[in-house]
Amino acid sequence: MSTIISLPDQSTARIPKVNFITKENGLLSWLLTGDHKRIAMLYLASITFFFAIGGALAGLIRLELLTPQSDLMATDTYNKVFTMHGVVMIFLFLVPSVPATLGNFLIPIMIGAKDLALPKINLLSWYLYVAGGIMVLYTMAAGGVDTGWTFTTPLSTHYLNTNVLSTGIAIFIAGFSSIFTGLNFIVTIHKMRAPGMTWFRLPLFVWSHYAASILMVLGTPVLAIALVLVILERTMGIGVFDAAKGGDPILFQHLFWFYSHPAVYIMILPGMGVISEVISTFSRKRVFGYTAVAFSSVAIAVFGFFVWEHHMFIMGVSTYSTLVFSLLTMLVAVPSAIKIFNWSFTLYKGSITFETPMLYAFGFMGLFTIGGLTGVFLGTTGTDIHLTETYFIVAHFHFVMVGGMLMAFLAGIHFWWPKMTGRMYPEKISQLAALITFIGFNFTFFPQFILGTLGMPRRYAAYPAEFQVLNVFSTAGATILGVGYLLPILYLTWSLRYGEIAGNNPWQATGLEWQIQSPPLTENFAEIPIVDHDAYDYDWLERKHVHEREVTSV
């Protein structure tokens, strides 16, 4: 099979002696670093850890659901397991995943800067994330919490005596980590671009992170205040959401979803940025409709703020308001469709190869399309009545988050692994892992669409026997999916020591990050580049290679 991987001669190639990893040694040099690349690696380690925890919890859920009865664990325990699964996966994995690892690592390099605008705030971000994570671990050790990740009041304020307080505080702290990351990105992208790097020469990865950062900065504080009010209601009896005191539990729903809907776009937009980069590189072509893709990211961010009530269509809100929010939901679906088609047409008349990142990108395109389309089923008020609060919703968000976002994350990790570590991952086994993941994913989550249409509610520890077959399918798929996720953790770790030396640009890609050494210097660039070409300019790359060959042959 054709490949574009071009590695240096392995008998003579070496990892560059001076790079951001070897620059300084010792634990403190990592824990007190201001280098965005080191912080990215710190994040990568910590989110992998929490992903493993979230994944183990998912395994427990699927095991319980093998049988209709609640027989593996007590119902209370099951409720805690799915709550912690949601909290860990959303706040400690999905929200930071691409921005905090790949975004942190790449954005300064992609715009031609030496670091982010606020390196100390970046480090603070990581510490806040860790603090939030430790609080979540404490919560689990203290017996867990069983509110569901959505913290619905009055259940969370008055009817549970599990660790709501510590979870609320944990998410509050982790939220600030997200706010500071977004803040850093916006300032960096505005103020630190290299000379010649105009807005419309930026890689689409940067555009998507910019859009996601707007959401992080404006949306997360509203979650923070919603959590504060829940905490006040639990501890001090301030009854803002308490019907008995004249408060309104629906107000909590509004405040919570005002963040939590933009949150899903915070989660997916960076992944979409990865896909743009990967599809372009592995078709050797500029992205079709660059401007459309860039603007669609911003459109998703803006529209994403105005659709939150579609999570509340059956909660007795005014029917006229449902009209408005359903219409806006239809509008927010369109930019995503635009992207899918633009990526498809990037393939047109390209020169396509199928390395692992590209396989994950294809998986993303198929699965995100299904996930996105099923979102329209839910944004349509009429069908939402039947489908909401069932496994249809569970399937929908797992398709977009796991089939979409997680695949994009894996695509990005594989794509930039050689840049971050200087070593290639093993291609054959990684392609196998991508395939296993894709198959496992479909087996796990597609049956859940059917379960939802049949009416099986979500968050059920026990269910009527007629739903068992589909649940068994789903659990079987989950086992396969687990293998698919385990493999990368294993072989990526292996590659750190035994992987082939990658050189600067194993993919022959166009971004600024591929023009510097792998792993990069601490200051990224020996001298700040002056940018005179568009992103994805393969002609420029070709001219550069010709020039280099001429120089070296002298």
Binding site: A226, L229, L232
Partner: protein, 221 residues
């Protein structure tokens, strides 16, 4: 370097935007419940002391002035002036907190703290209460009187959150006074002082909104 200065200023404005969103949630709750339970909010508001509230407003506005003067001193490299301005701002901040403590203890005495032996007496029987009598309040029916607890819940949440931001500001001021005395801000690097000034002005502006919304509901003459 100029890029760095420019960047941190921009970052501070963005951060203040997040703070607006944060307080926004509280203001939203306030607007909704004031609309639903207006008589209770009137009665609750009449329980607050206009004297202390106005005094506090004056204190904060003055402290914003001293802070702005401090920034000017830093810009014009007047170390003594800067330290003086920062100290004044610090002291005014403490005065604000002191007055808030007085107000809070008053509320605690009168059992107007939600969740802690909350008493409806001042609202169902205004003649028993100095503040209500002076304001000329009529007795509230029981169900409306119960909603005063919502007013006080929001009062404590909003002024409490504001006071928390004041405390953080005052702590940073203390740090800044020490550094200013050592000359850190009068050698041309004034970004820290400038950006803190933005933060302090923001905290002041939040109070400018809180004061009329909480203290001045239906006050006549």
């Amino acid at each position: 370097m100029e890029q760095q200065v420019d960047a941190t200023g921009f970052a501070m404005w963005l951060f203040l935007l997040t703070e607006i969103m944060f307080f926004g949630g509280l203001f939203t709750a306030y607007l909704i419940y004031r609309n639903w339970y207006y008589p209770a909010f009137v009665a609750g508001s009449h329980q607050l002391s206009i004297l202390w509230g106005t005094l506090n407003t004056g204190v904060l506005i003055t402290s914003s002035f001293t802070m702005a003067m401090g920034v000017w001193c830093a810009e014009t490299r007047r170390k003594g002036g800067l330290v003086l301005c920062l100290v004044l701002t610090f002291l005014l901040g403490l005065v604000f907190l002191g007055i808030k403590t007085i107000e809070y203890s008053e509320k605690i005495e009168k059992h107007h703290v939600p969740g802690f032996h909350y008493s409806l007496k001042s609202f169902t029987d205004p003649n028993s209460d100095e503040a209500a009598k002076t304001a000329g309040d009529k007795p509230l029916p029981l169900d409306m009187a119960r909603h005063t607890e919502m007013y006080f819940g929001l009062y404590f949440a909003m002024t409490g959150m504001h006071a928390l931001h004041m405390i953080i500001g005052i702590a940073i001021l203390a740090f800044m006074i020490v550094r200013a005395q050592a000359g850190a801000y009068t050698t041309g690097h004034i970004t820290f002082v400038e950006n803190f000034g933005l933060y302090w002005h923001f905290v002041d502006i939040v109070w400018i909104f809180l004061f009329p919304l909480l203290y001045l509901i239906s006050r006549h003459g």
